[in-house]
Amino acid sequence: MGLCERCKKAQATFHITKIDSSNEKLERHLCERCSIEEGHVQTHKGPPLPELLVEHLIGMKPSAQAIANLVCPECELSYVEFRNQGPLGCPNDYDAFESELASLVERAQDGATQHIGKTPRSFGQPRPKEQDLQSLRRELSDAIAAEDYERAAKLRDQIHKLESE
């Protein structure tokens, strides 16, 4: 699992293999947003373009100042404090620090970004959609690595179907 090669920020979830006229294989690894922006994915109900652009600009690399100002509204721990002296302050930190914590978790957990396994009773069965998506995406990248494009196409359709549910 790597980062999107275009924005280098989000998780690359779209793995595109193109074969051009000279039979050269071109591989692209993009996040959902970049693949939409490059026109690889048609969105039917996505936001109109200007809104998307604004969102994209807001979501761009936060400045050092912005990171320094990240504070959890619940336990009031700042991201800088967490980086300097360890444990998180409360469960909400995982959301409050999401922009910075995501890559840290990914590095600590050998590239993993999504829980797979047991869920508590309160979370309810069946398994959450994200887990299924994650394992489908894993299968997809395996299929691509194995150059099994027929299977990859099927998996891609399954992913799209699940995502639009």
């Binding site: 409360c90 469960p91 995982y94 957990q109 050998d110 970004t113 829980h115």
Partner: protein, 352 residues
């Protein structure tokens, strides 16, 4: 005195039993980290909140199915010696023993299952089994977790799974640890192969008492480091199907090689250790551990027959400082401990 005096006289089930592959695998431990929704993690919790977490956890544990006969011990109220005793028995961690503020431990009478309240996370539950019993340990802790889950809401996140104070435990919150006895690999200088086998599967190796401790007397603990992105059973299967059988095979091969081509060296180690244990008047816990390790191997390769495994296993535990003092019924300084330890060992080994 707390009710822990009796505890010191017996060995926990996990150490007494002889589970699968017990010649090499001492014990299997599975631990789960859980936090209760609605509270801060402990680093951010003040005294009142720590107490509230502890109360909420204990209420839930006391109502949970299957925990009716658990003993509840207020760790904060224990003196230092009793806390050390619980650490030596692996019922609580050093961090939990040395912590501050409201904290508890609940355990069943066989000491196979325990739940620490207010360690690094609100709840740290563990199951210990003798020998290699990964699936059994997982089944048991999964039930324990379900029973507690019925009584309390865990902090959980759709993406990150079970939320923990440290992101290195997030996801499943599972830590699987297998304790191995590898005296022959140490004698043949092949421990590196063990390190490599563990590293290949991204597992960590530590000494007997977990994080930051050196390996004592040829005992090594192998644990997973990755907790996110793989299911509990996938993580467990790495141990049971891949890493542990490989290391066990290395140790068996090393024992065979020693028996075949270096029998005198092997016999010398084993009988020297036995002689030392049977004659010493002062012995440190490290020296005792090293000698007991060689005697334990001697039993398994059939070079010593006059003592039984249970005696050796019990001595591993009872020669440690807190146990020794509990058994003697008094506080002892370093030299007094060495003397009492040597006397205890002589009495146990020479009576068989």
């Amino acid at each position: 005195m707390s009710g822990l005096d009796e505890v010191a006289r017996r060995a926990g089930e996990w150490l007494r039993g002889v589970g699968p592959m017990h010649e090499i695998v001492i014990s299997t431990r599975v631990r789960l980290a859980r936090n209760i929704r609605g509270f801060f993690f402990l680093s951010r919790a003040d005294r009142e909140m720590r107490q509230a977490i502890c109360d909420a956890a204990v209420r839930a544990l006391k109502k949970a199915a299957g925990l009716e006969n658990y003993a509840f011990v207020d760790v904060d109220a224990l003196d230092e010696l009793d806390r050390k005793l619980l650490v030596e028995r692996q019922l609580i961690s050093r961090q939990h023993a040395d912590g501050v503020g409201a904290r508890m431990v609940a355990f069943d009478l066989t000491e196979a299952c325990s739940v620490m309240v207010n360690e690094e996370d609100h709840l740290r539950m563990q199951v210990m089994r003798s020998g290699l019993q990964l699936d059994e340990a997982w089944t048991q802790i999964n039930q324990l977790d379900d029973a507690i889950d019925e009584r309390i809401d865990y902090a959980y996140h759709a993406q990150y799974g079970y939320l923990t104070a440290c992101p290195t435990n997030v996801g499943t919150g599972i830590r699987v640890s297998v304790m191995l006895h590898l005296p022959a690999l140490r004698l043949t200088g092949e421990l590196e192969r063990v390190g490599q086998a563990a590293k290949d599967m991204k597992l960590a190796i530590r000494g007997l008492y977990g994080e930051g401790t050196d390996a004592l007397g040829d005992f090594f603990q192998i644990s997973n480091q990755i907790t996110l992105g793989r299911s509990e059973t996938e993580i467990i299967n790495d141990f049971g199907r891949v890493v542990i059988p490989k290391i066990v095979a290395y140790e068996q091969a090393a024992r065979k090689a020693l028996l075949k081509s270096r029998l005198h060296t092997l016999d010398d180690k084993i009988h020297r250790a036995m002689g030392l244990l049977q004659s010493a008047r002062l012995i440190s816990s490290n020296e005792a551990m090293q000698c007991l390790s060689h005697v334990r191997m001697g039993l398994h390769v059939g070079r010593i027959k006059q003592i039984d495994l249970q005696t050796v296993n019990e001595l591993f535990l009872q020669t440690q400082p807190a146990h020794l003092q509990k058994l003697q019924g008094e506080r002892l300084n370093g030299e007094q401990r060495s003397f009492a330890r040597a006397a205890l060992i002589r009495a146990r080994l020479n009576s068989n």
